[in-house]
């Protein structure tokens, strides 16, 4: 199954999803398609008209362009997702993936899809990490049934 992950570029979640036999949906692949595309003059510093249209599908015109731009990348992944895993309060959720409003909208869009969803806290100790890995494993194994 295709599993959408938040943070969308997490090494740990990407690896765990793949390790337990599912396909992670991450922004690395979505960005990869963009930066390797010859249609854009200097990727990823500019966007195409199609990107703007895609963004408008997920957020209104009054929403800041940064959020719409991000949703143009995240949105198709959410549409494609058959399950999702959120890891809240990851310490590296700043910079490009740190837009709080985008992340709120992403969560809303995922919840609207009513797909299986696992919500976790980023672990801070080995004991917490054990619980996180166990929960991810159980969730992903349950999806196969």
């Amino acid at each position: 199954m295709k599993v959408f992950i938040v943070p969308p570029n997490s090494l740990i979640l990407f690896d765990l999803v793949e390790r337990f036999g599912h396909q992670p949906l991450s922004i690395m692949e979505a960005i990869g398609e963009k930066v390797n595309s010859k249609e854009i003059e200097s990727p990823p510093l500019n966007v195409t008209v199609d990107d703007v249209k895609k963004g408008l599908k997920y957020a209104g015109i009054e929403v800041p362009s940064g959020i719409r731009g991000r949703l143009a990348v995240y949105g198709p992944l959410i549409d494609e997702a058959e399950a999702a895993i959120f890891m809240e309060d990851a310490p590296y959720m700043f910079g490009c993936v740190g837009c709080a409003r985008t992340n709120e909208l992403v969560k809303l869009l995922v919840r609207k899809r009513k797909i299986p969803l696992l919500e976790l806290e980023y672990p801070t100790s080995e004991e917490e990490a054990k619980v996180v890995v166990k929960r991810v494993k159980e969730f992903l194994e349950g999806l196969k049934k």
């Binding site: 740990i12 672990p123 054990k130």
Partner: protein, 141 residues
């Protein structure tokens, strides 16, 4: 780079005794058509999607729970990201943090593979006497 091509990070957990050089040499001995870049945290492999997947499966066998992998958007040596060409690396702080935390997840994976019961101890209620002591302490300040 074609759409069938894939670039992947293979990240070695700090608790592993494997070095990026060992992985690079191991992949070279597989004699497959991939491009490899050795980095401080592991290696970056680029090639046909299926070939890269096969390489990853074999490399993982070296140290299954201490080698982690994810796809990379940019190809190896891309001028927009490669430091040799003054490219920026905005994602490196994240990769660094996750790399530092990999030993935690290794313990988690070992635990999950062994089927051990992993539960956090339940939070107990604070006794009233303790609560009273804290209140008095704060009020005195």
């Amino acid at each position: 780079m074609s759409q069938k091509s894939e670039t992947r990070y293979i990240v070695i957990a700090p608790s592993s005794s494997i070095t990026p050089d060992q992985i690079t040499r191991f992949i070279h001995t597989m004699a497959v058509d991939v491009q490899i870049k050795e980095t401080c945290f592991g290696v970056i492999v680029q090639g046909e999607r299926q070939v890269v997947a096969n390489v990853l499966t074999e490399v993982r066998k070296l140290d299954p729970n201490r080698l982690f992998s994810k796809v990379r958007g940019y190809p190896i040596g891309d001028g927009r990201r490669c430091r040799a060409e003054h490219g920026s690396r905005p994602g490196f702080t994240q990769l660094e943090k996750e790399w530092k935390d990999l030993p935690m997840f290794e313990v988690g994976l070992n635990c999950a593979n062994d089927g051990k019961i992993c539960e956090l101890p339940k939070r107990k209620k604070l006794p009233i006497s303790e609560m009273k002591r804290i209140c008095e302490e704060v009020c005195e300040q």
